[in-house]
Subunit: 124 residues, 2 copies
Amino acid sequence: MTRQRQAILEVIRSDKRHYTAEELLSEVRRVLPNISRATVYNNLHALEDARLIRRITGEDGSDRYDSSYIPHGHFICSRCKEIYDFEIPEFSSTLEGLLGDKFDSYELKVRCVCPQCRDRLREA
Amino acid sequence: MTRQRQAILEVIRSDKRHYTAEELLSEVRRVLPNISRATVYNNLHALEDARLIRRITGEDGSDRYDSSYIPHGHFICSRCKEIYDFEIPEFSSTLEGLLGDKFDSYELKVRCVCPQCRDRLREA
DNA sequence: CTCAAAAATTAGAATTAGTCTAAAAATTTT
DNA sequence: AAAATTTTTAGACTAATTCTAATTTTTGAG
């Protein structure tokens, strides 16, 4: 666990946001101004291999990182693009039942309008 | 519906595979040798807007296209990377119940080893 | 039918996210 | 403390996708 790796992990854990690698690079540079882009990418992979974070694919195609390795649902607002976590009770067992076997991981993204945006739309 | 758009749609519908844009480009070129890459991308977007196909994000980051617009699960073999469709009964209503509202669409990817690869692994 | 306007196509340049490389720096082993 | 290993760095590179500007095709009004 190098200073760089530690700093990256701290930023990811500092907020429930789902950062992109590029966002992490600029955040971490506030602390370690010389950290390189490749180091961020290397460490994101290392941290995922170590099961400390989870990579998810953002709506725009760029990867984002979740401070929890445990799979869960994400719902993405079709308006503001914000990503929220949510749990589906028993979902893993449901999936296992359907597939008839254990699985490695899953990724669930639901696109819908978030409560805030719904209110904004109602006003307009 | 131009010749180009028609040809792209036909290739997508010709097989239950989930093609990448690049694969579609070379397939369609067998029929329309001068079709340009940009046309394929434009039409994939147009076809998705028209709800005739659905874009899904492949494991490697490149987009893939599904000949059905209706959301359903995909399971992706961790070994051979093949993508299979699967249905979860009542899943849409479950999601609606959890979110307390209608949603636009969802994308569910489950990573696991497919039956063929499991057999291959057992032999080895 | 025929001209103008709008939409789609084309080739290729540009952009973006991510990976790779080789040298330098840091860390660990002995 | 020297040698071996791992990590970091800057920047080159790649792959997928988007953008651009010119051309072609299609549409629709007269």
